[in-house]
Symmetry: none
Subunit: 196 residues, 4 copies
DNA sequence: TATGAATGAGTTTTCATTCAT
DNA sequence: GATGAATGAAAACTCATTCAT
């Protein structure tokens, strides 16, 4: 499996750095190769084409993302606590890796429609995680019984995403993880939260 | 003033159509010119360069957008009613103009960072409108007194934006304006809404 | 005759200024029109095309040039005196009209081969004048009897031309007309001058 | 070093041919590439841009030019003999390479001011060579003691240059190297030559 | 496996010229 | 005669991808 070879990860990490520092449209394959200390041609031994680097990058990073959050959530009892942990971890992970934050919030969105559809495919794992929390919240009567799962998920993801994007675009002037509490409050309010 | 000449609007409208139908990266100036029924060179009598078409497009459309919503809101008494009108109008206007929705939700986000910063400049007018409603809600005790205006705004804009983007990406399978009520409910809940 | 109408000269003078100040490749027809205070289209009532402006410009200026020098020479007795007057006048006229000097020495040489051939056609009047002086000098035994007229003419024109070009390119740091004496000395030496 | 790779010279030689045969303004990069039997993009592996081809071309050719003449001159004793060798070699080298003669005498002068300044930089090596001969001639009492070096150099270069240009423009109807003797005679006369 | 030299398709913008008013 | 809005052809350069070594 190519994904376990060191150069595979080397190239992915190089891509994150190059895209974050140069922008999506200035992230030429040759720059990524140089940053990864491999020849241009070597890239094509590990990836089908340039787009494949980006999709793989997103898959790898988002896969780790979902795993970490799933792990953190596992120990929590209520949906509200799980949601808090999700918001906290989401904000923490991205605020700790500015390169990744820039890439996911700004640069990767400049890709074409086709790539974005594939990125969305990857995102589904994360959205499913959110859905599960919402459904659990409804079942446990924490959230309103008439809550529309899709809309609630769009609110949750849309709010967190917009919060991170604003933070990135405003040059990280403020403490992002500190917003976890207030954002969480907005979200459970939105979900019609009732203390159990 | 060039902006009042018929060709100016003609080119803007052509750009919306061409970008929506071909995607941002396949929207060559020559395609826009052909769609607008003018010569390639004519574009440059009205716009400084290609980017200028896109910025002008966004300014024109978003300007209209904000004006219409401001007009609709004017007659409403409470912040909650104003927010409902904003959500309704936002969803309605974009669902009625699919080309525009595709351009604003998908294609324009593929532009480079510089263009996106200018787009954000234009967006500020809309975000200010949201801020005013939130502040009014807090002052009138409709919303929680501890509500963070910036976060609330990010929730409101993030949720609506994500809702429209999902609708566009899911090929408009469902009735977007019909979501105004439920979305509104989520948002005022999030804001800690108390009936006056 | 169009050449006597005021706008004809107005456009020629404007062309000299615009070319001298902006360079040959930045001397667009629209700039010349603006400098001449006429509409772009008006240019084409007086000139066939852009090249025609440049040829006419050179013809007008060079025509005047030759006439003036012919006038000045008429009173002189010897070939050596005539040559001195030619050098003096050539250097004086161009040093007094820097715009014209820049255009003839630098900018007009950037035109294409076809235009340069036509410019040479115009130059012939001036070269004939030089030839007449050389022939007179040979006949009057001032110059060597074996002097090759064509080569002598190339030396005389080449030397003066190179002298003016150097002066223009060196930002006119020195007194050009003051070089007339020494340059004349070089030239008559070259021609095998013998005091009569 | 790129300059030693075969494609570097291949492209330079192709550029000389294409410019000579099509003229400066019709010498598109794609034409040069085709003539050099390389892809358009390959040009940009060896040259920064189109202008860089022209400057390199001139540097390479003029460098060789100066070297050859320096070599030929080395064995000569008097300034007059050195000057004769310089004129002979100058006329011979250009008459033997018509493509190069067309490029240096006609086409390269159509370039913009910036390029011409760089060309002049390269020319300085040649002009210095001329200066050295003049100074030697003055010191050895071959030339007049009051001879102005700059003017003498302008006469020498201007005369040779004009001679070659006339030959090129007159479609090489006559034997250019045969003019070396007479031209040399004009020039040493001009310098106030006295047999030692 | 790894390399990196070579490829060549693809697009914005300028500006001389025209012609309806 | 005079205008100036409209035209549309034309070219340098980039960069993802390949393939001989």
């Amino acid at each position: 499996m190519k994904k376990n070879k060191p150069k595979y990860r080397q190239i992915i990490e190089a891509a994150v750095v190059v895209i974050a520092e140069n922008g999506y449209h200035q992230a030429q394959v040759s720059k990524i190769a140089k940053q990864a200390c491999v020849a241009d041609g070597t890239i094509y031994l590990y990836f089908k084409n340039k787009e494949d680097i980006l999709i793989s990058l997103f898959q790898e990073k988002m896969g780790t993302f979902v795993e970490i959050i799933e792990g953190k959530i596992a120990g929590k009892e209520t949906a509200a606590e799980k949601l808090l942990m999700l918001v906290e971890t989401h904000l923490k992970l991205l605020s700790e890796d500015l390169h990744l934050a820039i890439v996911t919030q700004l640069e990767l969105r400049q890709s074409n429609k086709e790539l974005r559809l594939k990125v969305n495919e990857v995102l589904k794992g994360y959205l499913n995680l959110i859905d599960k929390i919402i459904i659990e919240g409804i079942e446990k009567k924490e959230f309103g019984s008439s809550l529309d799962v899709r809309l609630a998920r769009q609110m949750i993801f849309g709010t967190i995403d917009e919060t991170v994007t604003s933070w990135v675009m405003n040059e990280q002037k403020y403490d992002l993880p500190a917003l976890a509490g207030p954002v969480h409050q907005l979200l459970i309010n939105g979900c019609g939260y009732q203390k159990a």
